[in-house]
Amino acid sequence: MPLSNRHLLGLQGVPKEDIQLILDTATTFREVLERPIKKVPTLQGKTVVNLFYENSTRTRISFELAEKRLSADSINFSVSASSVSKGESFKDTIKNIEAMKVDMVVVRHSAAGTPAYLTKITNANIINAGDGIHEHPTQGLLDMYSIREKLRKLEGLKVCIVGDVAHSRVALSNIYGLKTMGADVSVCGPSTMIPRNIEDLGVKVIYNIDEAIQENDVLNVLRIQLERKAREYFPSIREYAKYFGITEERLERNGKDILILHPGPINRGVELSSAVADGLHQIILKQVTNGVAIRMAVLYLLGTLN
């Protein structure tokens, strides 16, 4: 059964069967990544452009590796966001790239909705690699994959997304994906970082991190983007770390087994203490490996749709 949409713009509205298919396909590719020769000829002859309008080393490398593992030809196109203030140049760039006969575009952009806009001006399959504070669907998928791998299910699990939910594209993709898969989702963070009306998405809001730890099976801890505006939303890093940071002591105090995810890169001593970041609860590096498998699955499923 193929995917129901020829683009992956977000996880909002993506049916359960599609998510299931992507996760199951990733399992197959996960096995490929353990082989001595980690390459399959699946996307031979297909051309993928990694169009990155925003700095992202991790996501870009993960996609690039996934493309190479699938034997696709990939090109990297990175533009500093500052040189793209006018829409026409963006449209022209896309038209130029399309004229080179590419099959798929992986796009990262600081403005929400850009991948959706791309689908209107090009025929290539579009994969959203993060658009503004909207969605980051492959991150959502790899988080679900990692949780499922560890806890062997998603349905009925209690998952809390912790941190700057308002300025995170990871949060929305997790919320949509996990809810579709039957998990019980909550968010926890300083109230200035919880978007208005988030409850309307069927998400519980928790302001106390200890309560979040007690109530949940999984914490997906977001990165506090210190380099961005995030700093304006809480009084000090010290205060954030004290009231929302996850430490060993806090985990012990709440005496409960819990799984911790983090999309990286970690601010050690802010959202996670160093001990927790390297500790037994976390699966942070597993997420990175799984990320490649998930991206292979998405590229494969879209690239073979015709």
């Binding site: 449209k91 929400a112 806009y117 969605e135």
Partner: protein
Amino acid sequence: MKVILKNVSLFHPGQKLDEKKTDILLIGGIITKIGKINTEESADAKVFDFTGKHIVPGFFDMHVHLREPGREDEETVVTGCNAAANGGFTGIACMPNTEPAIDSAEVVNLIKKQSKDHLVDVEVIGAATVGRKGEIISPMAELYEAGTVGFSDDGVAIKTAGILKRAFEYSKMYNVPIIEHCEDETLAGGAMNEGINSTMLGLPPIPSVAEELIVIRDILLSEYTGGRIHIAHLSTKKSVEMVREAKKKGITVTSEVTPHHFSLTDDSLKTYDTNFKMNPPLRTKADVDEILLGLQDGTIDCIASDHAPHSAEEKEAEFEHAPNGITGLETQIGLALTELYHKKIISLELLVEKMSINPRKILSLPIPKFEEGQTANFTILDLNEIWTVEISKTKSKSKNSPFDKRLLTGRAVGVVNKAKMFYQDEFIAL
């Protein structure tokens, strides 16, 4: 030229006039006779049969951006006037956020000169502060003498309460209103209304309270100084409620709403189409419902388009980077008739008041009269024609409208003013 408009319904709420199936004789653009025209009188007259059409006092749009001087690639005084005539307006007032801003008599004179020979009357709103920067009040006396009918820093609110207080006090000498774009700048800067939709779309939000804070600031300062306040394009439930309360207390506040704020909600943004991006942003159904109540009970005095032409290049951008605003002159009457008149929100009488009489009253302009000896200034309406908006065929130089292909009921079929008529896509000298 001698012209007879036959079989018209003459409708003028200001004169309590509602005459069915009558004729009007115009000679050189002057109303010469109203009533059955005999054969002798109709000799060598050009006859237009307007059976089933309504003739109402010429519609006036008090909130238009003409872009001249500065952005003539998007609109000029003449193309804007053509759009107005095509949309059914005989008069418009243009906003001062041009480059340079309309903060000197020279710029007022330029606009007056460009529009002098056009059918459409162009009234000028002067900047309330020099360069619309909110630092020093503009030369209001000089601007008033040059013919401005209001003052505004539209695009933004007057920056501080201190400057606004002075602007009210100074403009009071001329009984000219301050027209405010109500938005607190410290809460502004987003791309759409704050709510579940902004969260789901990942777009930076503009809270409704950003508007409401300035509405209440302006009402309080207007009351305190005795200056006149007109709230432009109000868009939230609370704004309507506050204006209603203020009017009850006898404060001289007036207000307007745009067709998009009574016919669309922020649900329309789901495709990230930048033609739905405007400021104030589209709000929620609860806001629209209150706006409809405000139109019914008189809280909202006028309907105005906030016609804001933008080049395709600029609108064709990522949503967050695209400029705010949509064109509106040529869809406004159709939307008002479809969404307000045919849905029985307001009567034709109220509609004509809000689109013709009230804006002129607010700007202290004469109201067209249907009397023999008066210059003919009217809009000819077909209340029931069903038509589809074709933005590519509009007269505005810019095409940024969210209403392309929308099916509407009712439109203006022509306008008459300044001894000219616009009908069936051409200007006819009378």
